[in-house]
C-alpha cells in the first residue's frame, strides 16, 4: 500500500510541474501587460509597481484591436450560426432522408477534412478580388463556413442517426411536414451536438490567421489574429502593448474554455473518431 502512495506522490509532483509549465507563461503575460515598457526590462518577474491600463487602452484604440475584436466577433458568430444551420440540414438529409447518393455525399464532405486551407487560398483570393470580396468580412465568412461544415456534418450525422425512428414516424402521423420534423423535432433534440460543434467552429475561426491575413488588408476589416501580428516587427519594441494585445486576444477563448471545457473535449473526441 505504501509503495503505491509514493508512486502517486511522484505522479502528482510531475503533474504540478507540468501545470506550472503551462500556466506560468500565461500568468506572466497577464502580469506584465499591466507594466510600463521600462519595467519589463528592469523587473520582468516582479508584480507591477503601479498597475496601468494604458497598454490596453493603446492596443484597443491606436493598435486597432477594438475594431478587430468586433470584426472577429461578427465573423465568428455569423460563421457559427450558418454552419450550424447548413451543416445540420445537410446532416439530416444524409442521415434521415432516403436517397441513393446520401452516403456518397457524406464521403464528399468528409474529404474536406483532409484538405489544408492553403491549397485553395490562391484561386479563392483571385476570384474574390475580382468580385470585390477581399477586404470584406463576407469573403472571410465564406471559406470559414465551408471549412467548418465537414466536422459539423460528421458529428450531426451521428446524432441524427442515433435518434429513434418512432420519433419521426409519430410526427409524420400527426401530419407534420418534413421541415417541421427537422426544425421542431430533430433539431431541438440535437442541441447538445450542435452546441459542441459550434464551440469548435468558434474557437477555430477566432484563432485563424493565414486566410484573414491574405484576404484582408484594410485595417478596419482585420480580425484579431491579423491585427495582433502587427504588434511584432523590427520597428516596434513596445512589448508592454504587445502583451496587452495578447491578453485581449486570448481572454475570450479562455472564458469560453472555462465555461464549456467538457463540451469542447466532447467535440474534439467526437470529431476525431472519423473511422
Amino acid at each position: 500500500m505504501k509503495k503505491i502512495s509514493i508512486q502517486k506522490i511522484i505522479i502528482y509532483i510531475f503533474l504540478v510541474l507540468m501545470a506550472v509549465l503551462y500556466l506560468a507563461p500565461l500568468l506572466w503575460v497577464f502580469n506584465v501587460s499591466f507594466k510600463t515598457n521600462k519595467e519589463i526590462f528592469t523587473a520582468p518577474f516582479a508584480l507591477p509597481q503601479a498597475p496601468t491600463f494604458e497598454n490596453f487602452a493603446f492596443a484597443w484604440t491606436a493598435g486597432k484591436l477594438g475594431i478587430a475584436t468586433l470584426n472577429s466577433f461578427i465573423v465568428c458568430i455569423v460563421t457559427l450560426l450558418l454552419s450550424m444551420v447548413f451543416g445540420s440540414m445537410a446532416a439530416f438529409a444524409i442521415a434521415r432522408l432516403r436517397w441513393k447518393l446520401s452516403h456518397a455525399s457524406l464521403v464528399y464532405f468528409l474529404i474536406g477534412m483532409m484538405i489544408p486551407v492553403h491549397c485553395v487560398m490562391i484561386p479563392l483570393f483571385t476570384r474574390f478580388a475580382k468580385v470585390g470580396l477581399t477586404n470584406s468580412l463576407i469573403g472571410l465568412i465564406l471559406p470559414y463556413l465551408t471549412f467548418a461544415l465537414p466536422v459539423t456534418i460528421f458529428i450531426m450525422v451521428g446524432f441524427f442517426e442515433g435518434m429513434p425512428n418512432e420519433l419521426i414516424e409519430s410526427a409524420c402521423i400527426d401530419g407534420a411536414t418534413i421541415f417541421e420534423i427537422f426544425f421542431k423535432v430533430c433539431l431541438p433534440l440535437g442541441k447538445t451536438g450542435l452546441f459542441v460543434t459550434g464551440l469548435m467552429t468558434f474557437i477555430a475561426n477566432w484563432n485563424e490567421l493565414l486566410l484573414a491575413m491574405v484576404f484582408i488588408s484594410d485595417d478596419m476589416k482585420k480580425t484579431l489574429p491579423v491585427s495582433l501580428s502587427k504588434f511584432v516587427g523590427p520597428y516596434n519594441t513596445n512589448y508592454s502593448q504587445m502583451f496587452a494585445a495578447i491578453i485581449i486576444a486570448i481572454v475570450p477563448t479562455i472564458v469560453v474554455y472555462c465555461a464549456f471545457s467538457n463540451q469542447i473535449v466532447d467535440g474534439l473526441t467526437a470529431g476525431a473518431v472519423k473511422g
Binding site: 501545470a19 487560398m121 479563392l124 490567421l209 502583451f243 473535449v265
Partner: protein, 294 residues
C-alpha cells in the same frame, strides 16, 4: 412516411446550401489550384499553361529545400513527441482520481488559444536579451540566441519552435488517448493483475494494443497539423533568419502573397496536399489494425 422521406424537393433544399458552398469554395478552387500549378500566373498576367515548368523550378529552389526539410522535421518530431508525451500524460492522468480534470484542462488550454498570440509571447521569451536569457543572466549564464542561431543540421530555432508546438498541442493527443483509455473495460485490467501483471505490463499488453486505432487518428491529425503549420512560425521568426526557418506554408505564403507568383505558389500547395494525403494514408496503413472488442 416513406413518401415524405423520399421527397426530392426536400432533399435538394436540405442539401443545397452545404453542397453549393462546398463545391464553389472548396472543390472547384482545388481543381483550379491544380491547374494553376501548371501555369505561368502572377498578379499582372492571366494564367498561361506552361506544363511542368513550375514543378521543375521547385527542384532548384533552395528555400523550398529548406522549407521541405523543416516541414518534414516538424512532421516527424511532432508525430513522435506527441505520441510519447500524449500517451504518457494520458496514462498518468487516468491513474489518478483527484485533480484529474484540473490537470487535464490546464494542459489542454493552449490548444484553444490563438497560436498567433502565443507565438508573439514565445518570440519574446526566446528573444536574445529578454525572457529566458534575462533569467539565465541572473545566474551568470549567457543564453544562446534561441531564434537566430543557424548552425547544425536542424538549427536551434527549429527545435525551439518544435518544442513550443509540442507544448501547445500535446493536450489534443492527450485528450484523444484519455478518451480511448477510459473506454477500456476495468475487468481486463483486473484480470491482468490476477495473472501477475504490474501497471507497466498491463499498459504494454492491454492499453497499447487497444488504443491503436486512436493512435492512428491522433497521429494523422498531428501530421496534417504539422504540415499546415504556419501561425507560430510566422509570429516567432517569420521564416528568418535568412529563410532558415521557412516551412512549406510560410514559403507558399511568401511566394503567393509577397511576390505574387500564383502559379508557383499553387505548385507548392499541390505538393503540400499530396504530402498530406500520402502521410495520412501511410499512417493509417502502418498503425491501424482491426478494432478489438472492448
Amino acid at each position: 412516411m416513406d413518401k415524405l422521406l423520399r421527397n426530392k424537393k426536400a432533399i435538394i433544399i436540405f442539401m443545397a446550401p452545404a453542397f453549393l458552398l462546398f463545391t464553389f469554395v472548396l472543390f472547384i478552387p482545388i481543381c483550379q489550384s491544380v491547374y494553376y500549378s501548371f501555369c505561368d500566373y502572377n498578379a499582372l498576367t492571366p494564367p498561361k499553361f506552361i506544363g511542368l515548368e513550375n514543378y521543375k523550378n521547385l527542384i532548384g529552389d533552395k528555400t523550398l529545400a529548406i522549407a521541405l526539410k523543416n516541414s518534414l522535421f516538424f512532421l516527424i518530431f511532432s508525430c513522435v513527441s506527441q505520441l510519447i508525451m500524449g500517451l504518457f500524460l494520458a496514462a498518468l492522468l487516468t491513474n489518478i482520481d483527484k485533480g484529474r480534470n484540473l490537470f487535464k484542462n490546464i494542459i489542454y488550454l493552449p490548444c484553444v488559444l490563438s497560436s498567433a498570440a502565443l507565438g508573439l509571447l514565445w518570440m519574446f521569451i526566446f528573444s536574445p536579451k529578454l525572457g529566458i536569457n534575462q533569467l539565465l543572466a541572473k545566474f551568470g549564464i549567457e543564453g544562446p540566441l534561441w531564434l537566430m542561431d543557424t548552425s547544425g543540421a536542424i538549427i536551434l530555432p527549429m527545435w525551439v519552435i518544435a518544442f513550443v508546438a509540442l507544448w501547445q498541442y500535446v493536450g489534443q493527443s492527450m485528450m484523444l488517448y484519455m478518451a480511448q483509455i477510459s473506454g477500456i473495460s476495468k475487468a481486463l485490467y483486473e484480470a491482468s493483475y490476477i495473472d501477475g501483471c504490474n501497471k507497466v505490463k498491463s499498459f504494454r499488453y492491454i492499453t497499447l494494443p487497444l488504443i491503436r486505432p486512436m493512435v492512428a487518428t491522433a497521429m494523422s491529425l498531428n501530421a496534417i497539423g504539422s504540415l499546415k503549420f504556419f501561425d507560430l512560425i510566422f509570429n516567432m521568426t517569420e521564416g528568418g533568419p535568412n529563410h532558415k526557418t521557412e516551412v512549406l506554408a510560410t514559403h507558399l505564403y511568401q511566394q503567393g502573397f509577397k511576390y505574387f507568383k500564383y502559379g508557383y505558389a499553387s505548385a507548392i500547395g499541390v505538393l503540400l496536399l499530396i504530402l498530406c494525403l500520402l502521410v495520412t494514408a501511410f499512417i493509417n496503413k502502418v498503425v491501424k489494425t482491426e478494432n478489438y472488442e472492448m
